[in-house]
C-alpha cells in the first residue's frame, strides 16, 4: 500500500508539472540547453550536430524506444538470473 501511495505521489507530481505556473513559462528544456549551451555560447562555442544525427522528426523517438527495449530486455534477463522468482509452497507439493 505504501509503495502504491508513493508511486501515486510521483505520478501526481509529474502530471501536475506541465500545469504549474513555472511549467507554463518554461519549455522543459534540458540543462544542456539552459546551462551548458548558454555558457558555451557566451564563450563563443556552439554545439555541433552529432556525427550520426538521429534528432530528425520522430526518428529520435524510435531510437529511444529501441534503446529502452534493448536495455529493458538485458536488464530483465539478468534480473531473472540474479533474482529467480520464488516458488510457491503449494506448487512445490503438486510437483
Amino acid at each position: 500500500m505504501k509503495k502504491a501511495a508513493l508511486l501515486l505521489i510521483f505520478a501526481g507530481l509529474f502530471l501536475s508539472a506541465p500545469a504549474c505556473p513555472l511549467g507554463r513559462a518554461a519549455s522543459w528544456s534540458g540543462v544542456d540547453e539552459t546551462v551548458i549551451e548558454k555558457f558555451a555560447e557566451k564563450a563563443g562555442r556552439t554545439a555541433r550536430e552529432p556525427f550520426i544525427n538521429t534528432d530528425q522528426g520522430d526518428l529520435l523517438l524510435f531510437v529511444f524506444l529501441l534503446a529502452g527495449m534493448v536495455g529493458g530486455f538485458i536488464g530483465g534477463y539478468n534480473f531473472r538470473v540474479l533474482f529467480p522468482p520464488k516458488r510457491r509452497t503449494g506448487e512445490e507439493k503438486h510437483v
Binding site: L22, G23, D32, R48, F51, F64, G75
Partner: protein, 254 residues
C-alpha cells in the same frame, strides 16, 4: 477463503502499482533532452585531455571485470543488470517543476555500491558511447569529459561516501542516500569544472565555475535527492532478496 481474499487484494495492489507507473511514464514529455556536454562544445585540446584522463580508469575497470568475473559466479549478470540500469537511468529526462527544466539522474552511485567504482566507469563509458552515437545525447568529442564527470567523479564520490559512512558505523540507509545524492552532485560539479576550464578564456576560472555550478542548482538539487531515494529503494530490495550479492559484489564494502 481468507487466503483467496488476500491473493485478490495483492493482485489489486499490484495492478494499482502498474497503473500508477504506466501513468507516470505516459505523463513524461515525449521529446528527449540531452544533459551531457554536447558535441563540439569543448575545444580539441580539452577534448583530448579529458580522454587522456578517462582512459586509465576505463582500462583499470576492464582489468577488474576480467579478474572478478573469473572469481565470482554471478558477477557477469550483475554487471549486465547494472549496466542496463545505468544506461536507462542516464537517458531518462525527469521534469523538475521547481526549475521548469529537465535533467537526468546518473545511477552511478548505486552502480558503484553494487559493482565497485572501477567497473562503474566501464558501464558508464559504454552507456555514454551508445548515447553519443545513436541518441544525440552527449558527443564523441566530449565523451572523455562526460566519462570523467559521470563515470569517474560520480562513481568514486558515491562509493567513497558509502564506504566512509559504513565505516563510521552509521545506518546503511543514510549511506545509500548520501551515495546517490553526492554521486549526482559530484557529476554536475565535475561537468562545471570541465566547462569552466575550457571556456573561461581570459576570465577567472573560479568565477566561471561558480556561475555554472549555481546555474545547475535549481535542477540538480531536487534531482540529487530523488537519486538518493532511488539508491535507498534499490539497495533495500537487494538486501531483502539477495544480501549475499552485496557482500560479493563490492568486495565486502557494501
Amino acid at each position: 477463503m481468507i487466503m483467496h481474499r488476500r491473493k485478490k487484494s495483492a493482485r489489486i495492489r499490484r495492478a494499482a502499482t502498474v497503473a500508477a507507473t504506466a501513468g507516470t511514464l505516459i505523463a513524461l514529455p515525449a521529446q528527449a533532452f540531452a544533459m551531457h556536454i554536447s558535441e563540439g562544445i569543448l575545444p580539441a585540446s580539452w577534448a583530448v585531455l579529458w580522454y587522456a584522463v578517462a582512459i586509465p580508469f576505463v582500462a583499470l575497470g576492464l582489468r577488474e571485470l576480467q579478474r572478478r568475473s573469473e572469481e565470482l559466479l554471478y558477477f557477469k549478470p550483475l554487471v549486465g543488470l547494472v549496466g542496463a540500469a545505468v544506461f536507462i537511468i542516464s537517458c531518462m529526462p525527469i521534469p523538475v517543476p521547481t526549475a521548469g527544466t529537465c535533467s537526468h539522474p546518473c545511477g552511478t552511485g548505486l552502480a558503484a555500491i553494487l559493482i565497485g567504482p572501477g567497473l562503474t566507469v566501464v558501464v558508464a563509458s559504454i552507456a555514454l558511447t551508445l548515447q553519443a552515437l545513436f541518441l544525440a545525447h552527449g558527443g564523441l568529442t566530449t565523451l572523455g569529459a562526460n566519462i570523467v564527470s559521470m563515470g569517474v567523479a560520480g562513481a568514486y564520490v558515491g562509493y567513497g561516501a558509502y564506504w566512509i559512512i559504513r565505516r563510521l558505523g552509521l545506518p546503511w540507509v543514510m549511506a545509500a542516500f548520501l551515495a546517490g545524492l553526492l554521486s549526482d552532485w559530484a557529476t554536475y560539479a565535475m561537468t562545471s569544472v570541465s566547462l569552466a576550464a575550457a571556456l573561461h578564456g581570459g576570465g577567472s576560472f573560479s568565477a566561471m565555475f561558480s556561475l555554472i555550478l549555481i546555474a545547475f542548482v535549481p535542477t540538480q538539487l531536487p534531482l540529487g535527492i530523488f537519486e538518493g531515494i532511488l539508491c535507498v529503494g534499490a539497495l533495500k530490495f537487494v538486501r531483502s532478496r539477495k544480501p549475499e550479492l552485496l557482500r560479493m559484489a563490492a568486495g565486502g564494502a557494501a
